[in-house]
Symmetry: C2
C-alpha cells in the first residue's frame, strides 16, 4: 500500500475532528483558554474545570469531592441520580479533552441514555442495578465497546474495520455490574512507550504541567483520572502502562497479577498468540480504597465466567496485619532515580519506620537491568513485527518515542525458538531467586520507586526498569502517589549522572512509590498498600 | 561421543543390577515364580504378593485392606507404627518390581530409618509429624530425591551426574508433611509414550496381564499402585502420563490444573524453558478419597512457599451439589473407542441417569483431532530436539514406541516463532469455544473416555487423544476405574474400524472413565467425581 503524507494526515485529522465534533457547543472552552493549553505551555490545568464556568456547582461537587466508593453509596441511595453524575463526568471529560487531549472515542449520548435507564431501574426496583450502579467509568482505547472504533491510534485502523461488534470481556462485566461507560482514552502508537502520542489523536498532555508527558501507554487514562474526568479508569499494563501514567498524573494505579482481571476481547497493536509476557487490565483511581473496590467488585462477579483466560481464584478476604515487614528494593546503579523520586521514597521509608513498621533493605537481588533487557526481547518476539506493519500500512511515520523506544529489542523480529527457550529458562531462574528472597526474609511486600523519573518533558521518558521488573516477575504492583517534585529541594547529588534530570522542567510533577508482592498475592498486597497509603497521607 | 552397542547395554545392565542388588535376599521371589513373570506371559500377578510367602499376615493386611486415608488414621493413632507400614510396603514394592519391573531407584534403608524417626517423634511428641505422618509414598523417577539418580531411563544420564543434590519441591513438601519416600518408579525413554520402557531399567509390565502395557509415562507408578506396592503414588502428566497408567493399571489417577501442585525441581528429558504445554504432578491412588486427600493436604501446606511457579490459589472447601449436570464428550470419529471402553462409558452413563443425575450429550465441540495434532506440535518445539540428543548421547537406540510416537510432530524441531504464534492463537480460540460450551450449557463436568483403548499389548498403545485434549485445554481431569474388558461381551460393531482391537488379548484389562472440568475448577471437579465414583461403585 502506498500512501502520501497528506493521506495519513488527512485520515487522522478527520477521525480526530469527528470525535471533537461530538462535544456539544456548550461544553466547549473559550478560545482564549484553548490558546493557552498546548504542549509547550508550562501550565497546570487541573483547576480549569472548576473555573471555566461550564460545570454547575453541583457538577463541581460531584466530580471533585468524592471518590468512586463515595459516589456509589450516593448513587445507590438515590442521593445523586446516575444522570446527574454521568452528565457531570461527561462534561468534565469534554473539558479535560480540550486541555490535555486525553480521549479517543466519546459516546456521551449513549451514556446519558444508560444513566436514565439505570435511574429508572433504581426507581422501579428499589435497588441498584449492581455494585457499580450508575458510576461513569473511563476505559483505555484498547477495550472494545460495541459500535466504537478501536483504532489504537493507528491511522491504518481508522475507517470502520475496527468498529467493535462485541464488548471486551471486562466491558461486558462493568456494564453487567451497573457502570456507565462514556469515553475511551488515548494511547501511544504501538502502546509501547510512555508518551501517549499517535497520528490519529495526537499527544496527551500532563494535567499538572502540559509540557510533561502524561505517561503511557494508558496516558489518556492517567490524564482523565488526573483531571477527575473520571474517578475510576481502566488501563492495561505490560511494562508499566498503568503505573507510569498513574505516577505522571498523580493517581493510584494498580497492575494486578496476570489473569485475575479479564483482559480478553481487546484490540491489539501486535499479533495474537504471543508466547511473551502477559498484559493485564487494572484500575487508575483517585483513592486507595477505589483500587480495592475495583478488585473486589470484579472478582466478586466471577470474572472467569466472562473470559476463559481468567484464573478461577476468588478474592480472598484476609485480615490485615497490624505492622508490616517491608523489603526495600535496591536501586540499580544502571538506573539511578531522580532526586524527587528519591525524596518520595525516603519520605515513605521514614514515615513507615516512624509508624512502627519494619524496613528490611534487600541486599542482593537478581539484576533489574537484566530483567529489563530480557523483557524487551519478550516484547520483540513477533517475526512479522506486526505493530510496525500497522504503522507502515498507512504511510504514517513512527512517533519519536517509538523510534527511540527502549522496549524494542535490537533483535526485534529476529528472535528464534532457541532464544525463547533461553529467555524462559532465565526468567524461571530469576523468579526462583526472587522466591527465595521472599521465603528467607519473610517480608510482606517490596517498596521501591515507580520509575527513575517523574513525568518528563515529552518524548524523553524512555525506559521504565522499575515497572517492567514486575511484569517480568508477574508481581502485582501498585503506585501510591506521594509528594511532588520541588526544584528548591530536589537538587540531587553531583556524583550521580541522572538521565536527563532537569529540576526546573519537572518542578511540580507528582511523585510516588511502588509497592509489590508475589504473584496472586494481590489480596496481601492491597492490605499492606492500604496501611502504607494511610501512613503516607498522615 | 561414540559408543558401541556393548557400552550402552553394559551401562544400562549395570545400573539396573545395582538396583536389584538392593533387594534383600529374603524379599526375593523363588526362581520358578520369576520364570513365569515375563512380558509374553498372559498372567495376572496382582495376587502373587499375597501368596508368595514373603509378606507376613499383618503386612498383607496393611498393604491390601486400607487406602491412604485409613492408614494415616491408624498411623496417627499409633495403631500401626510407621516402621511396620513402611516395611510392609518396601517388601511389597520389592516383590512388585520382580514381577512388573516397575521401579528405578529404591532406598529402603533410608525409608526404614525415617519410619523409626517418625515413630519416635509420635512417641515423644504425642502427635503425628504432619498430615502424612508415616505413610510410604511412591514417586515417579523424574522427581529428584537427594542422593538418588534421576536417570529418566537415559543410558547417558547414568553414572553419577544426575544424582540429586536437592529434593524436588514436592518431595520436600511430602517429607515436611510426614511422608516416607522409599522408591522411584519406571518411565519410558523420553517420557513421551504410553509404554514405560527404556534401556536402563527395561519395560514395566501390567500387573493385571503382563503382556499388556502398564501405560506411560508414569507406567511404573501405575504398576506400583496397581500392585498395592503403594496406596499413594505421584506421577506427572503432560499428555495423559498419569491418567493412561491409571486406566491401564486400574487405579484412580488425577491430573490437577497446571501449577496447583509443585512441579519444580524435577529432572527433565527435554529442555528447560519450553513455551509449550505445562506438565503437572498429581496422584495415582487406590480410592477416590485419596485423590482428595492428596490435593487437600498439599494445598493445605501452602505449596507456593515451596515452588515459585505454584499458583497462590488455596483449596476452596465447597459443599457438593446433590445432583449433577454432566456433559458427555462426543466421540471423535477419528478416534472410535474400543468396545470395552464404550461399555464402561455406557454403563457409567446409565448408572448416573438412574441415580438422578442429568446427562447432557454435548453436540458440536471443537475438534479433538485438531487439539491432538496441535499438542504434538507443542511437544516438538525444541530446535535442539534435546530428548533425542539424550538418547543418542549413549549410542542407545530409540525404543519402539518412541520411534513410532504419535506425540512427535512431523515438524519436530523445525517449528519456528511464526508457528508458535499460530499454535497459541488456535489454542486460545479453542479454549474460548469450550468456555462458551460451559457457560451456555451449565454443565458441572464433562464425562468421557480415558482413551480409545484399554491397556494394549506392548508397543501398540499409540495415541491418547482423549487425555491430551485436557492438557491442551488445561482442564483438571480424573480417571475413575470402572469394570474390566470382557472378550465375551466386548465384541464391538462390524462397521467401526477399531485401531488394533483384539478382544482376546485385552480380556481382563481394567476399564474406566474420565471426568474433567474447567481450569482451576479442581474443587468442583473432585466434588462431582466423588459423586460419580460412588454411583459407579454402587
Amino acid at each position: 500500500m502506498t500512501a502520501t503524507t497528506s493521506d495519513w494526515k488527512a485520515i487522522g485529522a478527520r477521525k480526530k475532528q469527528s470525535v471533537l465534533n461530538k462535544i456539544p457547543q456548550e461544553w466547549r472552552l473559550p478560545a482564549e483558554t484553548l490558546a493557552k493549553a498546548h504542549e509547550d505551555a508550562e501550565l497546570d490545568v487541573t483547576g480549569i474545570p472548576r473555573e471555566c464556568g461550564i460545570l454547575t456547582a453541583d457538577e463541581i461537587t460531584i466530580t471533585e469531592k468524592y471518590d468512586a466508593t463515595d459516589l456509589l453509596a450516593k448513587l445507590a441511595a438515590g442521593e445523586y441520580s446516575s444522570l446527574a453524575v454521568t452528565t457531570a463526568f461527561c462534561k468534565r471529560a469534554a473539558i479535560a479533552n480540550q486541555l490535555t487531549n486525553c480521549l479517543t472515542e466519546t459516546f456521551f449520548d449513549e451514556a446519558i441514555e444508560r444513566a436514565n435507564y439505570l435511574d429508572e431501574h433504581l426507581a422501579k426496583e428499589k435497588k441498584p442495578f449492581g455494585p457499580l450502579h450508575g458510576l461513569p467509568i473511563s476505559i483505555k482505547d484498547s477495550f472494545n465497546y460495541i459500535g466504537q472504533e478501536t483504532t489504537l491510534g493507528f491511522v491504518s485502523f481508522v475507517g470502520g474495520k475496527t468498529v467493535a461488534k462485541e464488548h471486551s470481556a471486562l466491558v461486558k462485566m462493568l456494564l453487567d455490574l451497573g457502570a456507565v461507560l462514556y469515553i475511551k482514552s488515548n494511547i501511544p502508537q504501538t502502546l509501547m512507550t510512555a508518551d501517549s502520542e499517535n497520528h490519529v489523536f495526537g499527544r496527551t498532555l500532563n494535567p499538572h504541567k502540559l509540557t510533561l508527558t502524561a505517561g503511557g501507554s494508558s496516558g489518556g487514562e492517567g490524564a482523565v483520572v488526573g483531571m477527575r474526568a473520571a474517578v475510576l479508569g481502566v488501563g492495561t499494563d505490560i511494562g508499566g502502562s498503568i503505573r507510569v501514567p498513574a505516577l505522571c498524573c498523580g493517581t493510584y494505579g494498580y497492575r494486578p497479577s496476570a489473569s485475575r482481571i479479564p483482559y480478553g476481547g481487546q484490540g491489539t497493536p501486535g499479533r495474537v498468540g504471543s508466547p511473551g509476557v502477559l498484559a493485564v487490565a487494572g484500575p487508575l483511581t483517585t483513592s486507595f480504597r477505589d483500587v480495592r473496590l475495583f478488585m473486589e467488585v470484579v472478582l466478586g462477579q466471577q470474572p472467569w465466567k466472562y473470559d476463559h483466560a481468567v484464573l478461577h481464584a476468588p478474592w480472598r478476604q484476609l485480615s490485615a496485619p497490624k505492622t508490616l515487614t517491608i523489603g526495600t528494593l535496591p536501586i540499580d546503579p544502571a538506573f539511578p532515580i531522580h532526586p524527587p523520586m528519591r525524596r518520595a521514597l525516603d519520605s515513605a521509608i521514614s514515615k513507615l519506620k516512624a509508624a512502627g513498621h519494619t524496613i528490611v533493605p534487600l541486599g542482593y537481588v537478581p539484576s533489574i537491568a537484566v530483567a529489563n533487557r530480557e523483557i524487551a526481547d519478550y516484547y520483540s518476539l513477533d517475526p512479522a513485527i506486526t505493530p510496525f506493519k500497522n504503522i507502515e500500512a498507512s504511510g504514517e511515520p513512527k512517533i519519536r518515542s517509538v523510534a527511540e523506544s527502549p522496549f524494542v529489542s535490537k533483535r526485534n523480529g529476529k528472535l528464534d525458538m532457541d532464544d525463547l527457550y533461553t529467555l524462559n529458562a532465565t526468567r524461571a531462574q530469576c523468579m526462583a531467586a526472587w522466591h527465595k528472597i521472599w521465603t528467607t526474609t519473610g517480608i510482606d511486600v517490596i517498596l521501591g520507586p515507580v520509575c527513575e523519573t517523574t513525568a518528563m518533558p515529552h518524548d524523553t521518558f524512555g525506559n521504565t526498569p522499575y515497572t517492567t521488573l514486575y511484569n517480568y516477575l508477574d508481581y502485582p504492583s501498585i503506585v501510591i502517589p506521594h509528594l511532588k517534585a520541588d526544584k528548591e529541594i530536589d537538587v540531587g547529588d553531583d556524583f550521580i549522572s541522572y538521565k536527563g534530570y532537569n529540576a526546573e522542567k519537572t518542578h511540580g510533577a507528582p511523585t510516588g512509590v511502588q509497592v509489590a508482592a508475589r504473584p496472586q498475592f494481590d489480596e496481601e498486597l492491597l492490605n499492606a498498600a492500604e496501611i502504607i497509603s494511610e501512613v503516607l497521607k498522615a
